[in-house]
């Protein structure tokens, strides 16, 4: 069996030379698969430009690392959910999302009032839903580990990111029998535990003032 020989220039990659380049479709495929190699490429290739853009705002309210991370998360999710139509390059798309995040943060910090309130680009999902998701990230961290685990199992997150992409009215929930097998408990126990934990989550979320304020202005 033939061993694959390493490229004679492969050692240069470690020194920053011989940079690997990818086509647009390869980038999108890598992002869709949550591929760390592709995130590394995106970070090395796109971060400097986005950082310059953020620094260009001359505001201490903005952190280039945070903006880049949040922007890339949003862009990646949109690619995974096929919400990115590919009208522009991924770099342009990512930069637009990051710029919108900058505007939003400056607006929240009271340092920016847009002349045109619709600054979001058309391919980005409703910005308010993003806020709800971000708020829930904060709230779910307040829950205990056992509750988080059973809710994640029930909501189809046991397979990670690929486990469930599109939620329909009646599907995408893992049956309690399956959850019970994973947790090595009875299905009724799983059902009861989930019910209790969901109730806790409801209380935490629907009693949260920020969540309710966002919910009042969100179309979901």
């Amino acid at each position: 069996m033939k061993n694959k020989k390493p490229s004679p220039l492969s050692h240069l990659s470690n020194l920053g030379y011989n940079k690997q380049k990818y086509t647009e479709s390869e980038i999108l495929e890598g992002v869709k698969n949550n591929d760390n190699k592709m995130y590394r490429f995106i970070y090395k290739s796109y971060y400097p430009g986005i950082k310059s853009m953020v620094v260009g705002f001359h505001s201490l309210a903005l952190d280039a690392d945070d903006i880049f991370q949040d922007g890339l998360v949003t862009a990646s999710r949109n690619v995974m959910e096929d919400r990115f139509r590919g009208d522009s390059t991924f770099y342009t798309y990512l930069t637009s999302i990051c710029r919108n995040k900058c505007f939003k943060q400056l607006e929240q910090a009271g340092k920016f009032r847009p002349a045109n309130p619709k600054i979001e680009i058309s391919e980005e999902p409703a910005a308010d839903l993003e806020d709800l998701i971000y708020r829930l990230t904060v709230l779910k961290d307040k829950m205990d580990e056992k509750c988080r685990q059973i809710i994640e199992l029930r909501f189809g997150l046991k397979d990670g990111i690929k486990g469930q992409n599109n939620l329909s009215d009646s599907g995408s929930n893992v049956r309690f029998e399956e959850i019970a097998t994973i947790l090595k408990i009875e299905p009724d126990n799983a059902r009861q535990r989930f019910k209790r934990c969901l109730e806790k989550l409801r209380e935490t979320v629907f009693n949260d003032r920020v969540w309710n304020d966002l919910l009042a202005t969100t179309k979901y």
């Binding site: 470690n14 949040d70 998360v73 829930l136 997150l157 990111i161 939620l167 049956r175």
Partner: protein
């Protein structure tokens, strides 16, 4: 409260897909007609959607953060390696310059006519430069052995334009002016010598590579010297 509990169970059964055909039809009818029930169902779906997205995004963000941290670590390590290499090169360069200078500064073995070779135990006519003000920037200082009571330098003394030359003469000579002429007979240097002084220091650069003659005014002894590179 009981009704709410039942509604939650009903919604979960619907989401499981475990309702019978009739129960599902009743469920859908209730969704269409009961606003409170429809709102509870809608909130349940929103909760799931937001929870799902929040969890997935947290995982993606963790991946991105770990990639960024790893890249930053790698960049820092590379920078340190380059810095260490640059420091080593600088140190090596500095060391080479020091070594070169110390060997270049080694005094030349120059001898007066009666000092034929170093094997005879004679001290070289040149001394290593010791940073004294009178020597200035010259490397070699040409000086005669104190014990020899004669004219120095003479035609056998090898002289270079960069040497500091210490002129010496017999103690019995009591003249006031030391003169140096070039081969055309032109006066190059005239120095006044104070009484009881038996040496005169000529700084480097005064004598270019050429043949010169030096003597004391009113003295018959004319000494030929040659300065060459």
């Amino acid at each position: 409260m009981k009704n709410l509990d039942n509604d939650i169970d009903l919604i979960e059964k619907f989401l499981d897909g475990s309702l019978s055909e009739n129960e599902e039809a009743a469920f859908r009818e209730r969704l269409a007609n009961d606003a409170v029930f429809a709102n509870a169902f809608s909130k349940r779906k929103l909760l799931q959607k937001a929870f799902f997205e929040a969890t997935v995004r947290s995982k993606i963000k963790k991946s991105i953060q770990s990639v960024m941290a790893e890249e930053n670590r790698r960049t820092t390590t590379n920078r340190r390696v380059w810095l260490a290499a640059a420091s080593l090169i600088l140190l090596a360069l500095a060391g080479s310059v020091l070594l070169y200078n110390s060997s270049w500064r080694k005094p030349e073995q120059q001898f007066a006519k009666e000092q034929t070779s170093p094997e005879n135990g004679d001290r070289a006519a040149t001394q290593r430069k010791v940073n004294s003000m009178e020597e200035y920037s010259n490397v070699d200082v040409l000086v005669r052995k104190d014990s020899v009571n004669d004219f120095f330098p003479d035609e056998f003394t090898v002289l270079k334009p960069t040497d500091t030359i210490i002129f010496k003469w017999p103690a019995s000579l009591n003249e006031r002016y030391l003169t140096i002429y070039n081969s055309k007979g032109e006066l190059v240097k005239k120095a006044t010598i104070k009484a009881n002084v038996i040496k005169y220091t000529l700084l480097p650069g005064v004598l270019k590579p050429e043949v010169y003659y030096w003597k004391f005014m009113n003295d018959s002894a004319l000494i030929r010297i040659k300065v060459s590179n």
